[in-house]
Amino acid sequence: MDLENQKRVMEFAEKYGPENLVIILGSAEGEAAGIAAETVTAGDPTFAGPLTGVQLGLRVYHVCEEEIKNEIDPDIYDEQISMMEMVLDIDDIVSEMTAIRDEFCKY
């Protein structure tokens, strides 16, 4: 996850409380989604950004996961996301995200 976004996540967690935060990702692949998810839960695995060694344990989902999809107006989802759903390997993304949440999510 790029350094500026890491900084923002950290600031929001401080400002609003980590239990009040949900991170939604739009990564194109499982591996990238997994790394971003790990960054906001267990800390930046690349040791590059402000979240290095910071274990926020935040709730994190990919926008194509059922939990988030169900929260979105179907027409808007159809207009904005449905095309990408066909393009992405959703199973791969869900599997990566679930693994990270199961291990590192605190909330």
């Binding site: 692949e29 990238a32 790394i35 095309m83 990408m84 066909m86 393009v87």
Partner: protein, 524 residues
């Protein structure tokens, strides 16, 4: 009153693509000295494992020369041929690879340093004595290096002078196998916009663009004196503290390339700039403003070794060791060359939105709809054509494939394609990526040269070139950007309805008679 007949005078002027040239420069030392990943690492983590391992992953010129995606970029093999070749490409180099090709060449670093000096007009570039002697002889054998270009190369300076400038005068070193063979001075003692770093970046962009221009003029069959306008579309900025991005790389490059009757200007649009420049050039020609316009751009030292950390970590050679350039000549209709369709331009607008769906709709679906075409009606799409062998190890996936998937998926959504046909759509309408990750370079335009040939031979009946740009990088807007155009075959000048003189006069006389009658009628 009777309507006057619409008189079709002359033709519907088209802008054709006369030629496209593509060049690469192998710059192994510039990866280490100037690539931004490396320069950043030296500041943030100077003793790092990465910096120590990096030199072991630098390729030789022969290796870069035979690397299949590089050979595709310069037109030696087609994208289809590349797609059929064995992977990994870096382990399956093409034998007997030659420096010069149909579309351009792959220049070695040492000669490029001389070309950089030849492109410098402010005595900023100095090279070592013996290096100049040896390398100038090599460069003088280059079929396109005119005498006046070679004369811009200066006699060399001493090793001591080079060391002194690099160590004490804030100069940027030019290296061969780790040894300093020259330097680029800063152009001002205080102004950071004229630092040695920026002067080097700009001179590299200029020199690689000049090389492309030379190839285009050599192969296009058009006399250099006929070029009236050059549009440069790289991502660099030249200027000083009072006009930071003043620019006109175009004019600077036209000068060295010998285009004495040309003026020009720069067009900036991040990665989408080449596509914007093509539309602009075609429009200038169609309007009759100019007869020949060249769209040109050189490459970037900053992007060299951009994904080096991942390449080294995964045991690959550093594949981003090429500075790239291209020059495309757009001319008035010659009845032969494929033309740029200006009636159905795809535009990502301010109001479009940034979701991939919105982007793809604006750039592909909507222009096709306005032309009464469906997505599967376009034979070949070229969007972001970066070589996936570079991007996949870095976790960025196969970008051309992602683009073709999105275009196909949109077709499925719009009922223009069956879901089960998606994979065959990608196969049929897409291509293996090949371009180096040099920012603006991979964005649509690498295919223009191939498209021109495929349209001329009838292998394809149309192509769509899509340019996309990430504007947020400049921190001025969060908007995305893009523009697209179709390339179509020329049906010949005879196709245009050319009224002969007599027929035209008869039509005019008839119209005037009817007009006069209608005036007379009003009086009654």
């Amino acid at each position: 009153m009777t309507a006057l007949p619409f008189i079709f005078l002359g033709g519907n002027m088209k802008s054709v693509i006369t030629w496209a040239s593509y060049v690469l420069v192998h710059t192994p030392d510039m990866v280490i000295a100037n690539g931004s990943t490396q320069t950043t690492e030296r500041i943030v983590n100077p003793g790092s494992e990465y910096l120590q391992q990096l030199p072991k992953h630098i390729r030789s010129y022969e290796s870069a020369l035979s690397y299949p995606p590089n050979r595709c970029y310069i037109g030696d093999i087609t994208p289809a041929e590349l797609g059929a070749m064995e992977q990994p490409y870096y382990e399956n180099g093409i034998e007997n690879a030659e420096r010069f090709s149909k579309f351009g060449e792959i220049m070695p670093q040492d000669e490029f340093y001389l070309l950089i000096q030849a492109c410098d007009s402010f005595d900023l570039v100095f090279l070592e004595e013996n290096f100049v002697k040896t390398t100038k002889e090599k460069l003088s054998k280059h079929p396109l290096m005119r005498e006046d270009i070679l004369n811009r190369i200066k006699d060399g300076t001493s090793k001591e002078e080079i060391e002194r400038f690099i160590n004490e005068e804030h100069a940027e070193g030019l290296y061969i196998k780790g040894e300093a063979v020259g330097f680029v001075k800063r152009a001002h003692d205080v102004d950071t916009n004229l630092s040695a770093h920026i002067m080097l970046e700009n001179l590299v962009s200029k020199a690689s663009s000049v090389l492309s221009l030379l190839h285009t003029m050599d192969k296009s069959g058009v006399d250099p004196s006929e070029i009236e306008y050059v549009i440069e579309c790289s991502e660099e900025a030249c200027g000083d503290m009072n006009q930071r991005g003043g620019g006109n790389f175009a004019k600077a490059e036209a000068e060295i390339a010998g285009l004495l009757n040309a003026t020009g200007s720069d067009l900036r649009g991040f990665c989408a700039a080449p596509a914007h420049a093509m539309v602009t050039a075609a429009s200038l020609v169609k309007a009759g403003t100019f007869k020949h316009v060249i769209v040109t751009a050189g490459g970037s030292t900053a992007k060299l070794g951009m994904n080096g950390k991942d390449h080294v970590k995964k045991g690959l050679p550093v594949l981003e060791d090429m500075v790239a350039g291209f020059s495309i000549l757009v001319s008035r209709d010659d009845g032969v060359n494929p033309y740029i369709d200006l009636e159905h331009i795809g535009r990502h607008t301010v109001g479009t939105g940034s979701s991939p769906q919105a982007v793809t709709s604006s750039l592909v679906l909507h222009p096709l709809q306005s032309a009464n075409l469906r997505i599967p009606d376009i034979d070949k799409y070229a969007a972001e054509m970066q070589n996936p062998e570079i991007t996949k190890p870095a976790g960025a996936g196969d970008v051309p494939l992602a683009n073709f998937k999105m275009i196909g998926a949109l077709a499925v959504k719009e009922g223009q394609l069956e879901r089960k046909e998606l994979n065959s759509f990608i196969e049929k309408h897409g291509m293996q990526g090949w371009a180096p990750t040099q920012g603006h370079i991979p964005s649509g335009v690498p295919y223009v040269g191939f498209a021109r040939e495929a349209l001329l031979s009838g292998e394809i009946k149309n192509a769509m070139i899509v340019g996309k740009g990430s504007l947020f990088l400049g921190r001025l807007t969060n908007l995305f950007d893009g523009i697209s155009f179709m390339m179509l075959p020329n049906k010949g000048l005879e196709e245009e309805k050319q009224f002969d003189d007599k027929k035209l006069r008869l039509m005019l006389a008839d119209a005037l008679r009817k007009f006069a009658q209608s005036l007379g009628g009003e009086g009654e």
